[in-house]
Symmetry: C3
Subunit: 141 residues, 3 copies
């Protein structure tokens, strides 16, 4: 599938591991490292989760309780046990994934991510603990 | 508006028809055909629904009951009949459309869509049956 | 941060002011002006809110009650007062922001936005009144 070699300036994979079933893992630093090592000046970073029970979210990272409130909200909204048809027992995680979405895009200018003052980037785990990947594709403007 | 001729390698329209009011229609095969006939090697595919009562979703396609669980969830969340202001009687469909979103973006590498093992692409109908269009724009990286 | 000068054809900032706590502000005209003054023929417009208590939405703009129904729905779904952990009292606005999402992307063809007949673009304020910015980045295809 994806063979993102070191020589490919535009394609990157971030590996991470979640420790709980539901967890917001901040990846802002990792994404910034991708930009800075890519020598990429202007365009957008496209950040993609290839999984069906996780998502990518941009929200406040200064106070970690914001992401916790979002996860508590989602857990009440789509409880784990309900009369779901899918027999694997993780339909709630698929639902949360589709609400948050599998990707986000962020502007890059002057070799820097253009995030708002309070914004951070999160990998949202909804069916952990698991090993996960995040793909980053840089697109010139 | 859009005049996507055959000669235009980067712009494509997929026509489809929904058969129920609420329906998840998988379009992974159609999107893959667009990529392969475009001779497009590296970038992203931007997949867009120009309608206000539908959406584009990426989630598990291996077991169709996942998309059915998501639609059941959305129907309980935003029931058709409530004290809505909009008089056309389909406010629930507009709400579902904004939760799922009108578009998704997917990486293309080596002339192939980079989807996760279990991921498929769905046109989400929330106010059918109708004739619908999906626009696909290929963007070089 | 962003220093989008007049000479930069691809980067634009739209300033706006919300007047209520929760408000859908249509910005379709402003985005169209950005495209037309940029002399930009083909690609996508990436529209981004750098705030954590707002979002960008595409939905019906012909009848303003559609956006009002969506905001009423979101307000019932995530009420302002609940047992949230975040102490600023606006966790509901962060939640709404993550449901709607901080950005949308729209195709540009022949120097025009490719929107469906009924679609408009909205800045969704969830914790106003405030001064807000919307970034627009044009990306060639």
């Amino acid at each position: 599938m994806l063979k993102f070699g070191r020589d490919d300036r535009l394609n990157h994979v971030i590996n991470l591991r979640s420790n709980k079933r539901i967890e917001a893992i901040e990846i802002t630093k990792e994404i910034k490292e991708v930009i800075s090592k890519s020598n990429f000046s202007s365009g957008v970073a496209f950040i993609y989760s290839p999984h069906t029970t996780s998502g990518i979210m941009i929200n406040e990272s200064y106070d970690p309780s914001v992401a916790e409130d979002i996860n508590s909200f989602l857990s009440k909204l789509a409880p784990k046990d309900r009369d779901y048809k899918h027999l694997e027992g993780n339909s709630d995680a698929h639902i949360k994934s589709s609400i948050i979405g599998p990707s986000k895009t962020i502007i890059i200018e002057n070799e820097k991510l253009v995030l708002g003052t309070w914004q951070g980037i999160f990998f949202m785990e909804f069916d952990g603990p698991r090993s996960r990947n995040v793909y980053v594709k840089l697109i010139k403007s």
